[in-house]
C-alpha cells in the first residue's frame, strides 16, 4: 500500500514536471529571453571586454566572477569538512593499505605510470595556461593534475607521495590559491575599478591589455593549483590508515 502511494506520488510529480518542461521554450529557439539580451552581448563583446579569446573563460572569470568565487569557496569548505572529520596526516610516516601490504606493485604498471604521469601533468599545465584561448581552464587543469597525482599515489604508495608533497607544502599552496583570487579582486578596487574586474582605469591605457592578461592568468593558476591541492589532500586523508592497522 505504501509502495502504491509512493508510485502514485512519483507518477504525479513526473506528469507535472513533464508538463512544465513541455511549456518551456525549446533549446536554441529565437524568442528565448537569454538569446535576446545576454548571449548576443557576451558573444559580441566578450573578447573585447575581457581580453580572453575563449568566451567561456571570460564569462566564468569576469562577467560571473562572483559565482566562481563562491564555487571556489565551496570547494575549500568541502576540504575543510573532510579534514575536520578524518583529520590531517601526522608527523612522521603515513601509510596507506597498499604500503602495508606484502605484495609489491607490479613493475610493468610502475614503468607505465612513470611514462604516463609526466605527460598527464604536462597536459594539465597546458590546459591551465592555455585556458583563455582554448577549451579548459583553471579547474579542469587542477582536476587533471589531481588525476595524475592520484595514479602516482595508488601505485607508489602514500608514503612516497606525502614525502614528495608534504603537508608543509600543501597548506601554504591551498591558502595562497584561495588568496590569489581575492587579492586579484582587491587589485581591481585599488586600480580604480570594481571588485574582480580586471581593468585598472588608473593605469595608462597602453598597459591595460597586458595587465588584464596577467591577472586572468594569475587567477587561472590560483584556481588550478588550489583545486589540485584540494583533490590531493582529500585523497591523502581518505587513504591514510590509522595507527598502521590493516583494515578491510
Amino acid at each position: 500500500m505504501k509502495k502504491f502511494f509512493s508510485l502514485l506520488f512519483i507518477a504525479a510529480l513526473a506528469i507535472l514536471l513533464l508538463y512544465v518542461v513541455s511549456n518551456m521554450p525549446g533549446m536554441g529557439e529565437e524568442d528565448v529571453p537569454t538569446r535576446q539580451n545576454v548571449i548576443p552581448r557576451y558573444l559580441e563583446n566578450a573578447e573585447e571586454e575581457t581580453g580572453t579569446e575563449n568566451v567561456i573563460t571570460g564569462v566564468i572569470l569576469n562577467y560571473r566572477g562572483y559565482d566562481t568565487m563562491g564555487e571556489v569557496t565551496v570547494i575549500f569548505t568541502g576540504l575543510a569538512a573532510v579534514i575536520a572529520i578524518i583529520g590531517r596526516e601526522r608527523r612522521g610516516k603515513n601509510y596507506a593499505y597498499t604500503d602495508l601490504s606484502e605484495i609489491a606493485s607490479s613493475v610493468i604498471v610502475r614503468i607505465a605510470i612513470i611514462f604516463l604521469a609526466p605527460l598527464i601533468l604536462l597536459f594539465s599545465f597546458y590546459t591551465i595556461l592555455h585556458g583563455d584561448v582554448s577549451p579548459g581552464g583553471g579547474f579542469q587543469g587542477g582536476a587533471i593534475i589531481g588525476a595524475s597525482l592520484i595514479i602516482f599515489t595508488t601505485i607508489f604508495g602514500l608514503w612516497e607521495s606525502t614525502s614528495r608533497i608534504p603537508q608543509k607544502l600543501r597548506f601554504p599552496l591551498e591558502g595562497a590559491a584561495l588568496l590569489s583570487f581575492f587579492s586579484v579582486g582587491a587589485i581591481g578596487i585599488i586600480g580604480g575599478g570594481n571588485f574582480l574586474t580586471y581593468t585598472l582605469p588608473r593605469l595608462t591605457t597602453s598597459l591595460q591589455p597586458a595587465v588584464r592578461t596577467w591577472l586572468t592568468l594569475l587567477v587561472e593558476i590560483g584556481i588550478g593549483v588550489g583545486g589540485a591541492m584540494v583533490f590531493i589532500s582529500i585523497l591523502f586523508a581518505l587513504l591514510r590508515e590509522e595507527g598502521g592497522v590493516v583494515g578491510y
Binding site: Y97, G136, Q140, I144
Partner: protein, 81 residues
Amino acid sequence: MDWVINLVLIALLIATAVSAILARDLLAAVIIFSCYSMIMALMWQRLQAPDLAFTEAAVGAGVTTVFFVITIFKTRRKEER
C-alpha cells in the same frame, strides 16, 4: 543522422543511471556511475560545451571514482538489505 547518436546516448545515459541505482554491489554501482559520467561528457561535447566535457571527464569519471572506490574499500562493499 545526428538524432540517432543523440538517441543512443540518451538511452545509454538512462540505462546507466537506473542500473547504478539498482546495483546491490556498491563497487559495480561506482563503475557504472563512472560510465555515466563518461557518457555525460560525450553529451556535453555534442552540445558544443567542451569546457564542461573536460570537467565531467576529469572529475566525474576520474577523480570521484577513485574517491568512491577508496571509501568502499575502507567500509563495506555490499549494500545492506
